[in-house]
Amino acid sequence: MKSIITPAAAAALVPDGAVLMIGGFMGVGTPERLIDALVLAGRRNLTVIANDTARPGVGIGKLIDAGLVAKVIASHIGTNPETQRQMIAGAIAVELVPQGSLAERVRSGGYGLGGVLTPTGLGTPAEEGKTKLELEGVTYLVERALKADFALIAAKHADYDGNLDYALTARNFNPLMAMAAATVIVEPQEIVPVGTLTPDMVVTPHVLVDHLVGKEKRHG
């Protein structure tokens, strides 16, 4: 049985300066209650690794709005003018990574790989500062593994043990990030009995999960 904690208790685990991987794509598949709890707790100087920073007031955008983020590693910030404003003002450092390379970098971190060789980004600003390697006459960029202190994950179901599945396009970076962080905190839409998810349905095995965020009790 996995420990079930409140969003506030989860946020209390995260120190200032932590490196966070946060699932989601434009806020879809982002653990919103965990984000709200982080904002409430006022955790500062965070590094966020995520596909994007959504929009102001949505998902990771709330962390940006609150000025809690010092660095972002993402594929896209164009939908969030506040991220761009803070970047231009020098308040946030932004590292932009092609989306497929970002996915592989996160996966590499979780899979014990040093990184991957990709053709993506060659001849563009994305190659700056990166090693190149030629294999059989083809040149690749070396995209290096990323790891994090915490992964904040949104799942469709968690069973009592912490096995997870995901819904439709809310899957995105979540299962990759669940492999790549020292501590994995999951906000499922539902917590279900063991056996509800069959072995072939489980996308993230329970051994990867540290904490499940429960629902608030409903009264009346």
């Binding site: 794509f25 092609p98 989306q99 563009t124 439709l168």
Partner: protein, 216 residues
Amino acid sequence: MDDKSLIARRVALELKDGMLANLGIGLPTMVAGYLPAGVTVSFQSENGIIGMCPVPADGLVNADLTDAGGSPIGALPGASAFDSAFSFGLIRGGHLDVTVLGGLEVDEAGHLANWMVPGKMVPGMGGAMDLVTGARRVIVAMTHTAKGAAKIVPCCTLPLTALRRVDLVVTELAVIEPTAEGLVLREVAPGVSIAQVIAATSARLIVPEHVPEMVL
């Protein structure tokens, strides 16, 4: 027909039955609305689905089902969902038959610049670099000029999206095919002359003896 509809309609003719296609946000998304009768194409959204379709009716919005822009979509029977690494495995691995993307500049080498304007707009490349690098066929769907300035240029002044030569450029004036020899004018839009296309293009165009009018 307005310019964007014309472009979308012409691009749609490039999609063949059974293809897997990925349409960029904006104008390229319109292409799905102009598929010829009898042509069934699977659409991928790079945030993790094959089999996307418009939301079929009010009330059928699902918070866990959106396109890469975060807008609600639907899914057809036979759809499949997957994570971001898999999604870009499809794109980078050559499993995507065609991608249609917008453009800021295309040059004589067939290089595309479509993701940033230094000092002005730094939104991030999102999936564009993987799409242009990995798709079997890259079609650029864009207006021929921007505020009167040519977008088809001798050499891109904006940062490139990839080193790969794109396969086709469709504008409201023309269809242009980048080749090893340069940019070949393949078609002109209805009522547009070759001279008009050349005048709106700062790149050198190779003009074959016969340049047909777009059939739409």
